[in-house]
């Protein structure tokens, strides 16, 4: 290459590579071999996933629109969906999964290092802890750390506002497939359970309110008290027994005691209204309803009864229509090829890296070659001209032939002697 300062073009790079072709080929071949070896040696990772869509109607119910506030913001709904999916990964579920498939085993999901290297790393970490480079090891952190590692191998990311992809990575393809299926089942179970629990959480306070309203309504005696007062007395006796037991431990302000007191009052009321059901009433404490007129109490009771009915209907219909709230767009598939390492990719990296490294080394070598003393400078020092250069030819193979007519013919011989 000539000594010049302008930037090298593609032709210069090619000529450089050709000039040091042996080195280029050797380094590229070595690099390719190294990367292919790494592809064969590195621990494999398999991944499989499923794609699920949670419809908007999961968060809606026409029957209870007046009771439950519905969200319409798409961003908020997306966040709720993702939250529900991640909510399924409870510590108990993770522990169960790990116990079933051995997911907490050392080296699972991480680098499978040789034992000597692992021991060395452990010693280095201990030394680091003594020098304060790492935090001290606390008891109980191991399980938490293992859960964290397992959780990091479960990938959840949204494809759009309603659709999510949930995947799992593991060195064993069978485990990957089975765990992904279990993740799907757990997510669906959690979604249904949360919806049911939300409805139940709304229904229970309404039921309690109904019972407290019924206490104040004289026109609505308990049918049982009129037909079988003995049943009411027995329940009353049972309630009073529970109260005696609980009051030894708790005060009257305790919610359970308050609830039992309300129940006692209701039962007494029914008995007093029932024929032949008279009984001494215990001292009423903390009346829940006070100062309401019977008409307003009846109106409230009717309204709440209607809402209660709607909630019960919603709960019942949910059991029958569970599949209408989500759709499985892509089921988990058994992974046949590893996610990592990919042999073609490694081969490409090996070739590319080898070429780059060899070109770099060729450039360095060329730089030092060019910076050497040249024959012209030596000739200058001697004060003589350069008469020419001996051409560099490959002596081990045929010389490149010149075009026809370019070569000078050999001297013609006459009687075995050259023509003078």
């Amino acid at each position: 290459m000539n000594n010049r300062t302008e930037p090298a073009g593609a032709a210069d790079i090619l000529s450089l590579a050709y000039q040091y072709r042996a080195m280029t080929l050797a380094i590229t071949a070595l690099s390719l071999a190294a990367f292919l070896t790494a592809a064969a040696v590195l621990p494999r990772k398999y991944k499989t996933h499923y794609v699920v869509t949670i419809y908007a109607k999961y968060f809606q119910n026409p029957l209870i629109q007046g009771i439950v506030t519905e969200t319409s913001d798409s961003g908020e709904l997306k966040a709720q969906r993702e939250s529900l999916i991640r909510q399924a990964m409870t510590p108990e579920f993770l522990d169960g999964l790990a116990e079933k498939h051995g997911l907490y085993a050392p080296g699972r999901g991480g680098l499978d290092l040789p034992p000597a290297v692992s021991r060395l790393l452990k010693r280095m970490k201990e030394a680091g802890r003594q020098w304060g480079l790492f935090p001290q090891k606390k008891s109980g952190n191991d399980l938490s750390a293992a859960r964290q590692r397992l959780l990091s191998r479960i990938e959840v990311f949204p494809l759009n506002n309603t659709t999510f992809q949930v995947g799992f990575v593991d060195p064993d393809p069978s485990v990957t497939f089975l765990v992904t299926r279990e993740l799907y089942n757990q997510v669906i179970h959690t979604l249904l359970e949360v919806r049911t629990r939300n409805l139940v959480n709304i229904r229970d306070p309404i039921r309690k309110r109904l019972e407290s309203l019924a206490f104040n309504m004289a026109s609505s005696p308990d049918p049982r008290a009129s037909v079988r007062p003995q049943l009411v007395r027995e329940e009353l006796s049972e309630v009073r027994g529970q109260l005696r037991a609980l009051t030894t431990q708790y005060t009257e302000d305790h919610p359970l005691i308050a609830e039992l007191r309300d129940r006692e009052r209701i039962l007494l009321r029914w008995l007093n209204n029932a024929p032949g059901g008279g009984i001494e009433a215990a001292e009423p404490r903390n009346p829940l309803v006070g100062g309401e007129s019977p008409e307003s109490a009846r109106d409230a009771h009717a309204d709440l009864t209607q809402k209660m009915d709607y909630l019960n209907i919603a709960l019942e219909s949910d059991k029958a229509n569970q599949a209408h709230y989500f759709a499985l767009l892509e089921a988990p598939i058994y992974p046949v090829s590893p996610l990592w390492p990919k042999t073609p990719l490694f081969a490409l990296w090996g070739l590319g890296g080898g070429l780059l490294a060899s070109l770099f080394l060729a450039a360095v070598r060329n730089y030092f070659d060019r910076s050497r003393i040249r024959a012209e400078s030596l000739a200058d020092r001697l004060g003589v001209p350069i008469l020419g250069a001996l051409p560099a030819v490959p002596w081990r193979k045929a010389l490149p032939r010149a075009p026809q007519g370019a070569a000078m013919s050999a001297p013609q011989l006459t009687n075995g002697r050259a023509r003078p």
Binding site: R374, V384, L387, L390, A392, L399, A406, M408, A418
Partner: protein
């Protein structure tokens, strides 16, 4: 005289036909012919005329023998005149090129002499050496005034001078292949002596010379040696 010179007194053994053919290709299909043109051009100048040319190098395996062989063959072919190739080397690396291997004995335009073989009595006495060089020969040798020599080494000096003097009369060009200037083998013909006894010298500069740490000292010694250097030939791109 010419017929005497073409007698079997010229010892040419161990010719390698493959190397000979490769050398012919080298001459025909590369730029080595340009070198011949320049040397022939220099030779024609009245003030620079020379009949004998010593090929020097500072270190071994720089390309001297290749240049000698190529120069001899190309000069004979180009200038249509006879050439005498003289090998003054002694010890040689077995992997190095030998002038004997490259000179085709069937080529009537090129004759070959190994001064070492002559000195060791391993070949028949050559006519070039045997023929008288003239009365003024002895005085010429003494007049050169070789530095540091009390009694000149007659054998080497005698042989070389006879070859160059007689060869100049009979050949268009006498090319002398020498040992490296840094060689320590005492059996070698002193390349500096050979060069001083030749009409002109050419220095082959190879990769080793360019990377030598003591290059400045060597160059200075070359300048001070009284050698008539007419040019240098670059062999940086070493042929493999």
């Amino acid at each position: 005289m010419i017929s005497q010179l073409t007698s079997s007194s010229m010892v040419r053994t161990a010719y390698n036909p493959a190397k000979g053919e490769r050398l012919k290709d080298f001459i025909r299909y590369t730029e080595v012919r340009e070198l011949v043109y320049k040397i022939a051009d220099l030779q024609r100048r009245p003030q620079d005329a020379f009949s004998s040319l010593a090929v020097l190098s500072l270190y071994p395996s720089e390309g001297k023998t290749l240049l000698c062989a190529a120069l001899a063959a190309a000069y004979a072919e180009t200038c249509r005149t006879r050439v005498l190739a003289v090998d003054t080397t002694t010890m040689r690396n077995p992997k190095s090129l030998s002038l004997k291997e490259c000179i085709d004995p069937a080529d009537p335009m090129i004759d070959f002499i190994s001064l070492t073989d002559h000195r060791n009595g391993e070949s028949e006495v050559s006519d070039v050496i045997h023929a008288p060089a003239g009365v003024a020969f002895e005085s010429e040798v003494m007049d050169r005034g070789f530095p540091g020599l009390g009694t000149p080494p007659i054998n080497e000096q005698y042989l070389v001078t006879k070859v160059t003097r007689n060869g100049a009369k009979q050949y268009g060009l006498v090319i002398l292949d020498t040992a490296p200037l840094t060689a320590r083998n005492k059996n070698n013909f002193d390349p500096a002596l050979v060069s001083r006894l030749s009409d002109a010298s050419v220095l082959v500069i190879g990769p080793r010379a360019l990377s030598a740490a003591d290059m400045p000292e060597r160059l200075q010694a070359l300048k001070d040696s009284g050698i008539r250097l007419i040019g240098a030939v670059s062999n940086e791109e070493f042929s493999q």
